[in-house]
């Protein structure tokens, strides 16, 4: 028989885990439509290329505009070629800093990351811009390495769909799943040590959450060390189409990233061990 004191002793650390989770969200609600990401215009975010200028004004490659992912219209981020474009196929990447997420010991070293975000590819297939581009979302390190990536590339033969690919350590593979243009999705990346699970659902939570892939890289792989150094979440527009021939944009919102503290993880393991010991007795 387990006495009440012993049970409580085992459960307290478990309860503490939820409270100790280190999390960060970006919902862009403090920004206004028309705000630009360049020049640190959106708190916590950076843009890697300058916006082009002409006719006495700036052409934004990334900006804040209203979108309704299912919970009501609100400010959301946009990156792409709706209003302008880079030349010579130069990517545009927006990176949200995750450096405020620490593992409890003041470092950015951890073995577990849970990330989710709303995303939609905006494109009018009936307009005169028939080109279509690729987009990606990645957990990135300071060195620019991609620990985990979700990619979207135009579906061949269907102008209203984008293929979904996922992967770790900078390489991705197609999943067979597609997303529809102008539709609101939520994607999930859950990594623990060398294992990463990718899944997605409708952004409003309706319907099913479908697994995309489970990738096991092994604890000793390069992936583990890359995951340990994640300091940002990057949303990239990859201009596949010829310069100026596309007008498509990736809209994203409600980004959530959680990193349980290692100390809590250790306590969880310790607690599980104590419960097992008590049960044996």
């Amino acid at each position: 028989m387990i006495n009440k004191f012993g049970l409580a002793f085992c459960l307290v650390p478990l309860v503490g885990i939820a409270g100790a989770a280190n999390s960060l969200t970006y919902d862009f609600d403090s920004s206004s439509s028309g705000d630009l990401f360049s020049g640190n215009g959106v708190s916590g975010w950076s843009q890697d290329v300058a916006n082009p200028s002409s006719f006495g004004q700036t052409t934004p490659l990334a900006y804040i505009a209203a979108s309704n992912f299912g919970g009501g219209a609100s400010s959301s981020a946009h990156v792409g070629t709706q209003l302008g474009n880079t030349v010579n196929g130069v990517d545009t990447t927006l990176t949200g800093t995750l450096t405020s997420l620490t593992a409890g010991n003041g470092t950015h070293v951890y073995n577990m990351v849970n990330a989710s975000f709303n995303v939609a590819v905006l494109d009018n297939s009936a307009d005169s811009f028939t080109g279509r581009d690729g987009f990606s979302v990645a957990l990135t390190t300071d060195a620019g390495a991609q620990a985990a990536t979700v990619g979207f590339s135009p579906t061949s033969g269907d102008n209203d769909k984008w293929d979904v690919s996922v992967g770790v350590n900078g390489s991705t593979s197609t999943t067979g799943q597609t997303i529809d243009a102008n539709s609101a999705y939520r994607f999930y990346i859950d990594s623990l040590d060398g294992a990463t699970n990718f899944s997605f659902s409708a952004a409003d939570g309706s319907g099913l959450t479908i697994g995309l892939a489970s990738i096991n890289s092994g604890n000793a792989s390069a992936f583990t060390s890359t995951l340990n150094q994640v300091t940002g979440i990057a949303f990239t527009h990859d201009p596949i189409a010829a310069d100026g021939t596309s007008a498509n944009t990736l809209a994203f919102d409600d980004i959530s990233v959680q990193i349980p503290e290692p100390s809590s993880s250790l306590l969880m393991v310790l607690s599980a061990g104590l419960i097992a010991i008590r049960r044996r007795r």
Partner: protein, 169 residues
């Protein structure tokens, strides 16, 4: 008596020349409505590889027999003497259908504004405007109009669709 087609052309030309003035340059195509994409491309300009920005917009429709297509381009080129010149070209193509002959007439006008700038794009001299001689083509079929392509678009509805996510079969 002044023929209706002549009045249309005269009005079109008058509006074009007004728009070509430097003071109205910013309003030639209104970009503030976020319904016109600015297309950036690299081009060869007299042996120089430069980035040219193009914006264009149409008003009217072929169906109602009157279309005005406006196009403006913007580029900064080296002047060969250590400085730079900003070149803005504004072109207006007006196509009008003669309801009696069922033929189109097309009037094209343009103005080139050249302004000395420094390497940062700051204006360092006066603007020189060079209007091109208007051209008028008559007796055209609709397929011969050759209007500039539009870079305007209809914004996507911010209320996104709710997808049905299913497992792969």
């Amino acid at each position: 008596m002044i023929a209706p087609s002549f009045r249309v052309k005269a009005l079109a030309l008058a509006s074009i020349f007004c728009a070509a003035s430097a003071n109205l340059q910013a309003q030639f195509i209104d970009l503030s409505g976020n319904d016109v994409k600015v297309v950036y491309k690299q081009i060869d300009f007299n042996g120089q590889t430069v980035t040219e920005a193009t914006a264009s917009k149409r008003t009217g429709t072929l169906a109602n027999g009157n279309v005005e297509a406006r196009e403006m381009t913007f580029k900064t080129v080296s002047d060969g003497a250590g400085g730079f010149t900003r070149i803005v070209v504004q072109k207006t193509v007006t196509a009008t259908l003669d309801s009696f002959t069922n033929e189109w007439s097309v009037t094209t006008t343009s103005n080139t504004a050249a302004t000395p700038v420094d390497s940062q794009g700051t204006v360092v001299g006066g603007t020189t405007n060079t209007p091109a001689t208007p051209t008028v083509l008559s007796g055209l079929e609709e397929s011969e109009l050759d209007l500039p392509p539009t870079t305007s678009f209809t914004a996507i509805d911010p209320n996104l669709d709710t997808p049905v996510v299913l497992s792969l079969p």
